[in-house]
């Protein structure tokens, strides 16, 4: 373990190694306070409160084998969640903000595309609802096609064909080949 310290580590000189792309990300949220963070902060506090509430309902069971019982761990977690939420709020108030994650395909200069997110969630929900009645081959193909559509794919036939191919391949390879549990649904007996 090597504790890091701003002044003591980093023997290197700090002449400019200009990192491309870094400026945009660093400057992105710099000016204004990122108030949406308070939402996450409130979520943490709510979670902490719920954990404490749930812990209060656990009957105090202890034995010589287990003098502690199941209660202290959630109580500790609940308290810590509340404490961290408070520190988090202080950090936000002082202008702290987490850096949104960069990635190969991530363009942080755009704002969040809620329409795409909504369509993806819908495709996801359709799969969760249909997987047992219709079976994985159909619901999986719809999931793939729907997600690709949400992400901007406009070759509908190609997308659907790829989805059907993928779900058939996975069904035969994993469900029948490796014994993974995937439902056949209404295609039971046909596949």
């Amino acid at each position: 373990m090597s504790p890091q310290h701003p002044e003591t580590t980093g023997p290197g000189t700090s002449d400019a190694v200009v990192a491309p792309d870094a400026t945009a990300a660093a400057g992105g949220a710099g000016g204004t306070k990122d108030r949406a963070q308070y939402g996450l902060c409130a979520g943490l506090a709510l979670l902490g409160a719920y954990v404490l509430f749930d812990a209060s309902r656990i009957g105090a069971v202890s034995s010589s084998n287990d003098p502690v019982g199941p209660k202290p761990m959630p109580i500790l977690l609940g308290v810590l969640l509340l404490v961290v939420a408070a520190f988090y709020a202080v950090d936000i108030a002082r202008g702290g903000h987490g850096e949104a994650e960069e990635g190969e395909d991530v363009d942080l200069s755009t704002s969040v595309d809620w329409r795409t997110i909504g369509m993806l969630i819908a495709a996801f929900a359709v799969n969760a609802l249909l997987i047992e009645p219709l079976g994985w081959v159909i619901s999986g193909a719809l999931l793939f096609w729907g997600s690709a559509f949400a992400l901007g794919n406009r070759h509908h036939v190609r997308g659907l064909a790829a989805g059907v191919a993928l779900s058939l391949i996975t069904f035969y390879a994993f469900a029948i080949g490796l014994g993974v549990n995937l439902p056949a649904g209404i295609l039971q007996g046909i596949l």
Binding site: G10, G12, D15, V17, A19, P74, E99, F124, N181
Partner: protein
């Protein structure tokens, strides 16, 4: 010499046609997902978990080992050719590597990173052979209080040392620990945090958590900010190096390995610090310091070796102590649990054949990677052109399949969606993902050790204070947590009551490393699924 004998035994187990085929499959898949944007080895291993439950543990581990090492090879290809590293450990490689590629030296950059990775991986794996059994032997003698202290030190490492912001790392860890509590208590059988839902009585399966946070969260995050115009890939031929490249590369490879392995082997190491240290060291030692920033080969060779050696090092605490310090190792531990194998200090004693086969497969996979990557680099680079809608639709498809297959209940798909949205929020707000997954996996263990420690003293808190090992851990934890305070006090005193306007940046950023690199890191948070 016992180690060598056991290792040879391990090679004997691995060198069957079937296992070699699985190793080849592993390194191929690993390289592919390393190259592909948005997917990393951790996500891949998570997606494959439910499938491997049907395989023998040895086969599954060989597959995962291949993906683990292959992912790093592929990751460096992307960072050199695209200059948008998906993983924090490749940030440093990208600085010089992409400059080299732009200057028409992509082939040499890829070659030095592939050969350096091979050398570092091989030396690092040898390091595992000699170090891991010693650590395991030592760890067996530790009691519950000492073990508890080591776990807490790991928590401190993944939250406070590795991330950019302590409070965000801690929040992530606590959410993970809370998820780990859900279900029936293992001693008393009482339901905790289940909300009365019978599907939650067995707890939330770690596969669903990992797939939700890594795969669904990442896909949703990318979808929200999808780059409409894909980044420009620098075309590349077959990697090769000239005589001067070799003579400039071999010392950085070895120095990078020496820096990387010890950091990886510590319960709180990681790859970020050693790659940064290696970069600065090479810059100082280079006979061509003027080339740094314009594409110096030493600046690729050193950090790449450090990255791979540190990855090898992380297998020491994983195998000897059952403690994960990176995301892929965390999910490999979950896989062991899925096969009914208890990770921890007794693993080597109880399952020696499995452990040595895994280590032998690392040597084999590493060699395969070199053979696979040098000639095939141009083909791998083509993977970067896959249409993004299909790529991310495919991730969601496999994520849903894997999560459903764990328990065959649609309920898990809704849970997966909820966890995916959590993963999305964490990426949006810069919360690191690693502490959460470590918390989910180690949460039950830390509670069990805590309760065992207190068993002896009948609940008296003095039971938590163990022997010298525990003391050392607690001292290290206090030091790690107290450093920013020291810095704060110092700057307060130094400025003698300035405006009080501390520029704390993202949390209490403890800026490890030179400023320029710190600013490079700022762009890439620690959240990467490819960690």
């Amino acid at each position: 010499m016992d180690n060598i004998t056991s290792l040879i035994g391990g090679f004997g187990d691995v060198l069957s046609p079937m296992n070699l085929l699985i190793a080849l499959l592993g390194v191929t898949v690993g390289t592919a997902v390393g190259v592909l944007p948005g997917i990393g080895p951790a996500m891949t291993v998570a997606l494959l978990l439910p499938i491997t439950y049907g395989m023998a543990p040895v086969e599954g581990l060989i597959l995962f080992a291949g993906i683990f090492y292959g992912g790093m090879y592929g990751g460096s290809t992307t960072s050199i050719l695209l200059n948008t590293p998906g993983e924090s450990a490749s940030v440093v490689t990208a600085i010089e590597g992409n400059k080299m590629a732009k200057a028409g030296r992509a082939a040499q950059a890829l070659a030095t990173s592939a050969i350096g990775s091979f050398i570092a991986g091989t030396i690092g794996t040898l390091g595992i052979v000699f170090l891991m059994p010693q650590v395991a032997k030592f760890a067996i003698s530790l009691g519950a209080p000492e073990y508890l202290a080591i776990i807490l030190l790991t928590f401190t490492g993944v939250t406070a040392v590795l991330g950019a912001s302590r409070v965000r790392g801690l929040a992530s860890l606590l959410v993970g620990l809370t998820i780990g509590v859900v279900g029936i208590d293992f001693v008393t059988g009482q339901q905790r945090l289940t909300g009365g839902l019978p599907q939650l009585a067995d707890g939330i399966d770690v596969v669903v958590v990992a797939v939700g946070i890594f795969a669904v969260g990442e896909a949703l995050w990318v979808a929200a900010h999808l780059r409409r115009k894909a980044g420009e890939v620098i075309p590349v031929g077959r990697p090769w190096m000239g005589r001067s490249d070799w003579s400039r590369s071999w010392k950085p490879w070895l120095r990078g390995t020496l820096l990387g392995f010890p950091f990886g082997a510590m319960p709180a190491g990681g790859a970020e610090i050693p790659t940064l240290l290696s970069y600065t060291a090479e810059k100082k030692l280079s006979r061509h310091p003027e080339e740094f920033g314009k594409g110096a080969i030493e600046g690729v060779a050193g950090p790449e070796a450090a990255n791979n050696a540190s990855a090898a090092g992380t297998l020491v605490p994983m195998l000897a102590l059952g403690l994960p310090t990176n995301a892929t190792a965390a999910i490999m531990l979950a896989a062991l649990q899925g096969w009914g194998i208890e990770p921890g200090p007794l693993l080597l004693t109880k399952e020696p054949a499995l452990v040595w086969a895994l280590i032998a497969s690392l040597f084999i996979g590493n060699t395969m990677l070199l053979l696979l990557n040098l000639p095939l680099a141009p083909a791998w680079a083509k993977l970067l052109q896959i249409p993004r809608p299909y790529l991310y639709a495919g991730i969601l498809f496999f994520a849903s399949m894997g999560a459903y297959a764990v328990n065959s209940q649609p309920f898990d798909l809704w849970l997966l969606l909820a966890l995916g949205l959590l993963g999305f929020a964490m990426r949006r707000f810069g919360l690191p993902v690693l502490p959460l997954i470590v918390g989910v996996i180690l949460g039950p263990l830390v509670e069990r050790k805590g309760r065992q420690s207190l068993q002896l003293t009948g609940g008296d808190l003095s039971g938590l204070v163990g022997g010298p090992v525990a003391w050392v851990c607690y001292v290290l934890i206090v030091i790690a947590l107290a450093w920013p305070l020291v810095g704060l006090v110092r700057s307060r005193l130094g400025r003698s009551g300035g405006s009080g306007d501390h520029h704390d940046g993202p949390g209490s950023g403890d800026g490890q490393g030179p400023d320029a690199l710190a600013s490079a890191r700022a762009g890439y948070s620690f959240n990467s699924p490819e960690a």
